[in-house]
């Protein structure tokens, strides 16, 4: 296949869009259905990325790629899931403010750990040695294939989320988000529902983090900042927290617009890229968030429509 029209910028831009879409979809189950505002997305994602990186680079595996990648990524996903279990347990009884502080604090702790545990992570200097689990030729070909794999993973997450909306589990999550005491009076453990929600969501975020590590080759604590959470959150809120496609639409319009159109096609001065652009990006996302919450709080796609959905799957 001829991929000459794709430049490195575009590939990494598209990769970002796909990855953040994946995060936004997982966040949608938490925020859009169960109404739990998880501000620790980057923490789970970062755990996945760093656990993967350390395992992949530092462990003397008895086998090579792709098994080395698969084993490291599987463990990283699992560890992120366990982190989700702990955080989910911690916040399950807290109110909105408590959840915000708890998840945000967790993400900060992950970043601090990545910085201070420099024997493992390389600390502030970062850690290299990550690579694609395959080699099909030019760097660009490898990156393109990795992009395709990422898109496939995100499509699988989208399909999962779509099915959740059409399942008893999704109904339970919506009910938990709507009236928790009432759910409990129906004999259902909202505690368990929330734990599982966090386990699955965090594991997925961890996997996406591990895959990001492969793409960037080099782990830098500067990348494990609140910007990742912000991107997923803003994209989701813009598209509509309660809708399956909300994250997809919103992330394309935010990350897509900024990371691809602004960065690749606007003639910005070269020296902006390292310093000004990340700041500009966060400012733009923050502004978008405020505008959406002010003028269209339910997002572009609007509110969930269970009456239509139920009509479609069960008839009248």
């Amino acid at each position: 296949m001829n991929i000459d029209w794709l430049d490195a910028f575009l590939i990494s831009g598209l990769f970002q869009v796909a990855m953040v879409t994946g995060l936004a979809l997982l966040l949608h189950l938490q925020l859009g259905l169960a109404r739990i505002a998880n501000f620790g997305v980057v923490g789970f994602w970062g755990i996945g990325m760093y656990v993967f990186g350390v395992l992949y680079v530092k462990v003397d595996w008895p086998f090579g790629d792709p098994w080395q990648f698969l084993a490291s990524a599987a463990i990283a996903t699992f560890v992120a899931g366990v982190a989700g279990l702990l955080i989910g347990w911690l916040i399950s009884d807290l109110n909105t403010d408590g959840v915000l502080v708890g998840t945000l604090g967790f993400a900060t702790a992950v970043q601090i750990l990545a910085t201070t545990e420099d024997d493992f992570t390389g600390g502030a200097l970062g850690m290299g040695g990550l690579d694609f689990p395959f080699d099909i030729g030019r760097v660009k070909d490898n990156e393109f294939l990795w992009l395709v794999i990422m898109v496939a993973v995100v499509a699988a997450i989208l399909l999962y989320v779509w099915r959740v909306h059409r399942s008893p589990y999704g109904r339970l999550l919506i009910a938990v988000g709507g009236n928790e005491p009432l759910v409990r009076s129906l004999g259902k453990s909202t505690f368990r529902a929330k734990l599982w929600l966090f386990v699955v969501g965090s594991a997925g975020m961890g996997l996406l983090g591990a895959m990001n590590g492969v793409m960037v080759h080099y782990l830098d604590v500067g990348n494990v900042g609140v910007g990742v959470t912000l991107a997923a959150m803003v994209g989701l809120v813009l598209g509509g927290t309660a809708r399956v496609w909300g994250g997809v639409v919103g992330v394309i319009l935010t990350v897509g617009l900024f990371d691809i159109v602004v960065q690749s096609y606007l003639p910005l001065p070269e020296e902006w890229y390292s310093q000004a652009i990340p700041v500009l990006r966060e400012a733009a996302f923050g502004l978008t968030l405020m505008l959406v919450l002010l003028f269209r709080p339910l997002g572009l796609l609007g509110d969930m429509r269970r009456d239509k959905l139920m009509g479609r799957i069960h008839g009248r």
Partner: protein
């Protein structure tokens, strides 16, 4: 204080059918220093349908919420005495374990899921926990097929206008709350003003369901201010004031009791 018993036959359980009962012992609840419920020793469920009446603020709702453990007890113990003879310490269980033991309560104040349709809400009530796990994303059909008939029966019986839509009126939400309770197949049902705000015809239907349920072995305790419901439905009436049940007996006796007339019904009622 132990409740006075008025009316002769109430002291002896009138029936052979053994029903689940609930025993409340030394249960106290206060809000900001004011004692709202203080029940020394109370057994509910001796008779199929018991009415719990009393003036506003007597603590009827709070007592029911304490039984469900949706309000915590300051002290005391509440236990479910099973028909089979066993005992379950309800006051040591979290609220989500009550329904599993058959103890279910409807709400006085409207409780609803505003994003769920009527069908959704009822499917939620019936769905078994094993189908509500994150990996069971293909189990909707199973749950629907298992329970469709039963849900449709209730929907038709109560005549919901459009069950595929959201519950709109207060009455519809109230009714939905009751149907959710019924779908849980309670063995001990607590109803907190179930017919408040319902039109006459629906009140009759609710009463008929309650009678059926009680005939089938479920113990029912009902709080109502509509005393016509109480007099015509209940086998025994408990009168609650200032946090305790101070009087219990058959409806006729309670209706004519001087204390009840003075504290609640008002002169000239009988």
């Amino acid at each position: 204080m132990v409740a006075d018993v008025v009316g002769a036959e109430a002291a002896v359980p009138a029936e052979a059918v053994t029903r689940p009962r609930i025993r409340v012992q030394g249960a106290v609840k206060s809000f900001s220093g004011r004692v709202v419920v203080d029940v020394d020793d109370l057994v509910l469920g001796d008779r199929p349908i018991q009415g719990l009446i009393g003036p506003n603020g007597a603590g009827k709702t709070t007592l029911m919420r304490m039984i469900m453990h949706s309000t915590s007890l300051d002290r005391g113990r509440i236990a479910l005495l099973l028909a089979s003879g066993g005992e379950v310490a309800l006051s040591a269980l979290p609220p989500n374990r009550m329904a599993g033991h058959g103890v279910v309560k409807s709400n006085q104040v409207i409780m609803d899921f505003d994003k769920l349709t009527i069908w959704d809400s009822l499917l939620l009530a019936v769905a078994e926990a094993r189908y509500e796990q994150p990996h069971r994303i293909a189990s909707e059909r199973t749950v629907f097929d298992r329970h469709e008939g039963q849900i449709r029966e209730y929907l038709e019986y109560f005549g919901f206008a459009d069950p595929a839509a959201f519950a709109m009126s207060a009455g519809e939400k109230k009714l939905l709350d009751i149907v959710r309770c019924l779908l849980l197949r309670p063995t001990f049902l607590l109803l907190d003003e179930p017919t408040a705000g319902l039109p006459e015809e629906l009140t009759e239907k609710v009463m008929a369901v309650v009678r059926d349920l009680a005939a089938g072995g479920t113990s029912v305790v009902i709080v109502e201010h509509d005393l016509n419901v109480i007099w015509s439905l209940c086998d025994e009436v408990l009168f609650m004031a200032e946090g305790s049940v101070i009087l219990r007996g058959d409806p006729q006796a309670i209706r004519e009791n001087r204390t009840v007339v003075e504290k609640y019904l008002g002169e000239g009622h009988v």
